[in-house]
């Protein structure tokens, strides 16, 4: 720690200004990863989606557990889960010997309104489940993240026999809890109008998410970086995370409209009124073991939106835990990295 840290004096401002300039320069030069850290291969493509299989880590003993299929949100890119070697939620699962697959939804096709939720759940996700089942010879463990957790819940309710276990991270079920700011803001949005322009640019979503917590997300984190005197690795982590934050994909108009209307505006998931392909999504049909992890300081999916999930499911084996971090911290913070994969691995281990 430098002397100036605790000693006010004429040199403090000058030194900080110099440090700020140097850090800005280093930020410009810092590399960032957008491709993930763990080796993987494409095993299936459908529409715009790609199913990846992660290659086993050398020396990892194969786990005796169903293969894990990660279903990420449509509104973000999934590479946050495997940002860099030291910031990867997936690597510990591979190290524990789990067969691991991940869906990358890709960008919606142009022109048109793109797939609806029924296509995403039944064809895209369902197709991936079938691929993984075929390869692994049995039912899968679905790991749904955020909005991907909602899609996973829908799939598990429609096809419970194909899902051995369900893990949900930062997944909302009740969209109308009093502290859900995003829900309050979009409840009066005119969905037809929103869709009339076609796919929604990802940049608009980025702005919406930042404006939920503007000072922290647009200023505070940079000050912490300045005062923290980051090493090169920390800077590269930071830049990679920044790149991810600003890399929201465009949203298929049809699916986005359905998601906003059915879930955010009408809160249909917990009332059992979501219908996909003519079939009702009844959460009581989710009877497989479920692990639900949510974040204490989540500004997008507040704990209240997720913590009562067990009330709505038919599962007798439901576990939930609150992690002391924020929404993105679940995937990349030191605390999240220490807690989330370890809990998943332990929970899966107890059920093999």
């Amino acid at each position: 720690m430098r002397k100036t840290r605790d000693s006010p004096g004429p040199g403090l401002l000058g030194e900080l200004a110099a440090r700020a300039a140097a850090t800005a320069q280093r930020l410009q030069e810092a590399g960032s990863s957008a491709a993930g850290a763990c080796a993987r291969e494409v095993v299936w493509r459908y529409g715009t989606a790609t199913l990846y299989r992660y290659l086993p880590l050398p020396g990892a003993r194969p786990a005796r557990a169903p293969a894990v299929l990660v279903c990420f949100a449509l509104v973000n890119r999934p590479w946050i889960l495997d940002l860099r070697p030291q910031r990867s939620l997936l690597r510990p699962l591979l190290a524990a010997g789990h067969a691991l697959y991940l869906i990358d939804w890709g960008d919606p096709p142009v022109p048109g309104r793109g797939p609806g939720l029924v296509q995403y759940v039944e064809e895209y996700l369902g197709g991936c489940v079938q691929q993984v089942r075929r390869r692994s010879g049995g039912p899968v463990t679905l790991l749904g993240v955020c909005q991907g957790g909602v899609l996973s819940l829908c799939y598990a309710a429609l096809h419970p026999q194909r899902v051995a276990r369900l893990i949900t991270l930062t997944t909302p079920v009740d969209f109308h809890t009093p502290d859900n700011l995003l829900s309050k803001w979009v409840r009066q949005v005119d969905v037809e109008l929103l869709l009339s322009g076609g796919h929604l640019p990802g940049a608009l979503l980025t702005r919406l998410f930042i404006s939920l917590l503007p000072l922290r997300l647009a200023q505070h984190k940079y000050i912490r970086l300045l005062v923290g005197e980051p090493d090169q690795g920390t800077l590269e982590d930071f830049v990679s995370l920044e790149r991810w934050i600003f890399d929201n994909p465009p949203q298929a108009a049809r699916a986005l409209g359905e998601f906003v209307r059915w879930f955010y505006q009408q809160n249909r998931l917990i009332s059992g009124e979501v219908r996909l392909g003519g079939r009702r999504v009844d959460l009581r049909r989710v009877r497989m073991p479920v692990l639900n992890l949510y974040a204490r300081d989540d500004h997008i999916v507040p704990p209240s939106a997720s913590r009562d999930m067990g009330r709505y499911l038919g599962s007798d084996d439901y576990s939930a835990a609150q992690i002391d971090t924020g929404h993105i911290g679940m995937y990349v913070s030191r605390h999240g990295a220490a807690q989330v994969p370890a809990r998943i691995v332990a929970w899966l281990g107890e059920r093999t």
Binding site: R5, P8, G9, A24, V118, S196
Partner: protein, 245 residues
């Protein structure tokens, strides 16, 4: 994977802007000044609140807020009017009436967004004032000597806490939520206009346009290709292509 050229992705610029604000705070606290006077929490709170209000307003117009694109694109009212007049006079070709209607629609949309942003303006003042009040009311706010860096960071953290608290107290209210939703709606309408506008311009200037029938055919081709790919990749059992009810 993408990321390069991502709109809004400029960590160095964002960092520099935030660092400048922080250095300004340190200055106002007297850090680094030899023989500095004890700092006055009320004055600091007022300065921070003023900065915060400006920042909220600027964010609304500069890209970190729904609807900001519209005003950024439009610039001042005079410039926008001149721009729209230019568009109108340029469209003397066939389809000019339709074009003028569209320009009128654009004008109304921009006005709508400007009105909504003006209606949001008092909320930024309210949030900033409340943030300053919370900051001043914090126990231990007064200090007898200029702070060290760590102490200044603690003061800044406290400020962020107060500011976010004040922000949350306002933006959860139904009246704010209503305005915010209206702004999103107006922005969505503008986005739709921008996309349809491209086609109208092409028509007005006699440029080749993708015919609707061709577009429909393209969609059909895409669907056919998808189906074919899916079939090759062994279509999952139980998959249905029915529309949801």
């Amino acid at each position: 994977m993408t990321g390069a050229g991502t709109p809004g992705f400029d960590p160095a610029a964002a960092f520099t802007s935030a660092a400048r604000q922080f250095l300004g705070l340190l200055q106002s606290l007297g850090a680094g000044r030899a023989g500095a006077q004890p700092w006055n929490p009320a004055a600091t709170a007022a300065a921070l609140a003023g900065q915060f209000e400006q920042w909220l307003r600027a964010a609304q117009f500069s890209g970190s807020w729904p609807g900001s694109d519209a005003t950024a694109a439009a610039g001042s009212a005079e410039a926008t009017t001149a721009w729209l007049r230019g568009l109108n006079s340029a469209a003397g070709a066939p389809g000019a009436t339709q074009w003028q209607q569209q320009v009128q629609q654009l004008w109304e949309l921009l006005q709508r967004i400007a009105t909504l942003q003006a209606q949001l303006s008092p909320y930024w003042s309210e949030i900033a004032t409340e943030a300053g009040r919370r900051f001043t009311a914090q126990p231990g706010a007064a200090r007898r000597r200029p702070p060290s860096l760590q102490e200044a960071l603690q003061i800044y953290e406290r400020w962020v806490e107060c500011a976010e608290g004040a922000y949350a107290a306002t933006v959860h209210r139904p009246d704010f939520c209503h305005l915010q939703a209206q702004l999103i709606n107006a922005s969505a309408a503008l986005l739709a206009w921008q996309r349809s506008h491209a086609q109208t311009l092409q028509q007005a200037f006699g440029l080749p346009v993708t015919a609707p029938r061709k577009t429909a055919k393209s969609r059909k081709d895409v669907r056919a290709a998808k189906t074919s790919r899916a079939g090759r990749a062994r279509k999952p059992t139980g998959t249905r292509r029915r529309r949801q009810s």
